[in-house]
């Protein structure tokens, strides 16, 4: 039995190119393809995790969605509108509905103002009302994110809060704006281990009870499995495997996902495991240009064959709701 899912954000064939400089001023500029053919839908009340190594384009997806850049080709639609063609009131509406939470809670709050101020500004801008209602709303949001008692926590300045509390305060601010879709760019990686789960549980609560949608960007696949419903594995700007989070992590089909899963720490494993990857001289990120051919993972793939360096594998569905881009894989 499947419930009707409501698509809230839809990304279609997004390609993002960057010009990168040569060694000197006069040498020819090269093009780097940071994202290649990214396609996914985000449903209401769902968390979608994007995992991959640093430099694989995780944050670029975020930035494109935040309109830092216009994609080279492809579209992102929110509701029925192309994000990158929004104007005036529609843009304001988009900015309200789609918000982002950052990795570093220490620099995302203004150190000169207290927490109440951070909540009051968006409320004034998007939900103007009289003082008493505003105050009531602010307290509601603070209680929702677990900053209690709200009077005491709200009048504190950011430096008086711990990292976890700041991240909570920031979430409260996002909720005050009225966000429906939240882009979370490694929201827990700067927090203490014991605090991380608290934030994840809070986001889980917002997802389940308030039907917020999350794009959860991380490189920790264990927390991705804990929090997200679906997952996209990104390698050098390509979606190499995606689908239901449990299927992808428990039964990975793509060699890169297998590598990621076996590299994650597992206390119950005995001794040192051999990673299923070819030793390359420098384990640097694969640079992808528009002229590059074949599978991006071919250089490190233990099961690569000849055709892998010639053409990009087509998308295949290996099991219900699990897709890969790979010629190999038994299933």
């Amino acid at each position: 039995m499947k419930e009707e899912k409501q698509t809230i954000l839809s990304v279609k064939n997004v390609v993002m190119d960057f010009k990168i400089g040569g060694k000197s001023l006069l040498s020819k500029k090269k093009t780097l393809r940071a994202l290649n053919d990214i396609t996914f839908d985000l449903y209401k009340g769902e968390a979608l995790a994007i995992v991959g190594e640093s430099g694989c384009g995780k944050s670029t997806i975020c930035r494109v969605a935040m309109k830092f850049y216009n994609p080279t080709s492809g579209t992102m639609t929110f509701g029925n509108n192309d994000i990158h063609k929004l104007k005036a009131q529609e843009l304001k509406n988009y900015r309200q509905k789609v918000q982002m939470i950052f990795q570093d809670p220490f620099s995302s709050l203004n150190p000169l103002h207290n927490i109440y101020y951070h909540l009051k500004r968006p409320l004034k801008l998007y939900h103007p009302s009289d003082k008493i209602t505003t105050k009531k709303k602010m307290d509601e949001y603070l209680t929702l994110v677990g900053l209690v008692p709200p009077e005491e926590q709200g009048s504190k300045n950011p430096h008086q809060l711990s990292g976890g509390q700041r991240q909570r305060a920031y979430l409260a601010r996002i909720l005050a704006v009225g966000a429906e879709v939240i882009f979370a760019d490694e929201p827990t990686s700067m927090l203490d281990v014991s605090i991380r789960l608290g934030i994840l549980n809070l986001m889980n609560k917002l997802k389940k009870e308030n039907y917020k949608s999350f794009i959860y960007i991380t490189h920790d696949i264990a927390t991705a499995r804990y929090f997200a419903d679906r997952i996209i594995v990104l390698y050098a700007g390509h979606m190499v495997e995606w689908g239901d989070v449990n299927k992808v992590i428990v039964n990975p089909a793509h060699p890169y996902t297998k590598l990621l899963v076996s590299a994650a720490p597992d206390p119950e494993r005995e001794g040192v495991v051999e990673l299923p990857v070819l030793k390359d001289k420098e384990s640097e990120v694969t640079v992808w240009t528009p002229e590059s051919k074949g599978c991006p993972f071919k250089g490190r793939c233990p099961v690569a064959e000849e055709r892998c360096s010639k053409e990009l594998p087509q998308v295949r569905e290996v099991s219900d709701g699990q897709f890969i881009r790979c010629f190999q894989s038994s299933r």
């Binding site: 014991s194 549980n201 804990y226 720490p265």
Partner: protein, 322 residues
């Protein structure tokens, strides 16, 4: 196996602006045997790195060692002169810091940085000899020799960390201190580097003092684990016991802060509350406010040491086996 390093009753204070002091490390004792890997886990601010720095006496004011002994090879590091400690650093104890980015000199080639180590410690004054030695060391950690002429920014993050490890091993130290060596790196690179370190350990037979907050990683790589909370080691045991049979509720909580990759996705609580402010240490157990097993004793008196077959713990109401 004999003890390589013994720490007895070590206390480190940070002097505050108002003339008071904050005790970041409070009466900590442990020992590292030859060829052993000892892991120290805990949240940030619990004093892990302060211990690491004081083992080499690298701590800077306002930190100062107020009490205790650090014994290496029969000598107490705490009472040595600065010159004696300088001799000891790098040749007996070497350290790999958290961010390799900051411990390589960005304007000097890697080759020259190796040469400086050899010259300073009186190994060689000949650049050719130094180059040969450096090439050997780099090949051990899997970096091609022609990269010696490069500057640090031409290396990737993982390579930089490996180069630092190669430098730390330049004088064949007996103890290697790893202060969160892989936190800034990707999981795949992280595993690569740890594997490299442990292969080297087998070959060169040094001991490891491993500091991290990723307890699941530590349980895979260390023999003995100490769990630190608010300046004290609250539990120490073999890694198997920490995993299957933790005694202290904090150990249990830390272990449960990492979602598993297998089995069903269960709701996990983590540890409620926030880390202890060391300026306001309560009477009794330091973990009292965040502990789910706190009893009356925990609020009135500090727990005494209880020993187990391969370690110890400090708790009034420990978790039962099984």
């Amino acid at each position: 196996m004999s003890d390589l390093l013994t720490v007895k009753g070590l206390s480190v204070d940070y002097v505050t602006a108002k003339g008071g002091h904050v005790r970041a490390v409070d009466n900590v004792s442990f020992s590292i045997k030859e060829g052993q890997s000892y892991g120290l886990a805990g949240e940030s601010g619990c004093g892990k790195s302060t211990i690491a720095f004081s083992l080499m006496r690298l701590h800077r004011p306002p930190a100062l060692i107020s009490d205790g002994q650090i014994i290496v090879g029969g000598n107490d590091i705490v009472h040595m002169t600065e010159n004696q400690v300088q001799q000891l650093r790098w040749s007996e104890i070497a350290m790999v810091f958290q961010s390799a980015m900051n411990c390589l000199n960005p304007v000097v080639t890697v080759e020259k940085q190796f040469f400086e180590i050899f010259r300073y410690h009186g190994i060689t004054n000949d650049k050719k000899v130094s180059r040969k030695k450096a090439e050997e060391l780099l090949s051990v950690v899997g970096i091609p020799a022609e990269r010696l002429k490069d500057y640090p920014h031409q290396y990737s993050g993982g390579m930089r960390q490996r180069a630092v490890i190669a430098m730390a091993l330049a004088l064949r130290p007996k103890l290697l201190i790893l202060d969160e060596p892989t936190t800034a790196l990707d999981t795949v690179v992280q595993r690569d580097i740890l594997k490299c370190i442990y292969d080297l350990k087998k070959e060169l037979k040094f001991s490891i003092f491993f500091i991290t907050h990723d307890i699941s990683l530590m349980m895979e790589f260390c023999d003995t684990i100490g769990i630190m909370y608010a300046g004290k080691i609250v539990e120490q045991s073999s890694s198997g016991n920490i995993l299957h049979n933790p005694k202290h509720p904090y150990t249990y909580g830390l272990k449960n802060s990492f979602p598993s990759l297998k089995g069903e996705v269960k709701y996990m609580e983590g540890i409620p509350g926030t880390p202890l402010d060391l300026q306001a240490i309560p009477v009794g157990c330091r973990f009292q406010d965040r502990c789910f097993r706190a009893c009356n004793d925990c609020f009135t008196k500090e727990p005494e040491i209880s020993t187990t077959n391969d370690g110890f713990f400090y708790c009034h109401n420990p978790l039962k086996a099984g």
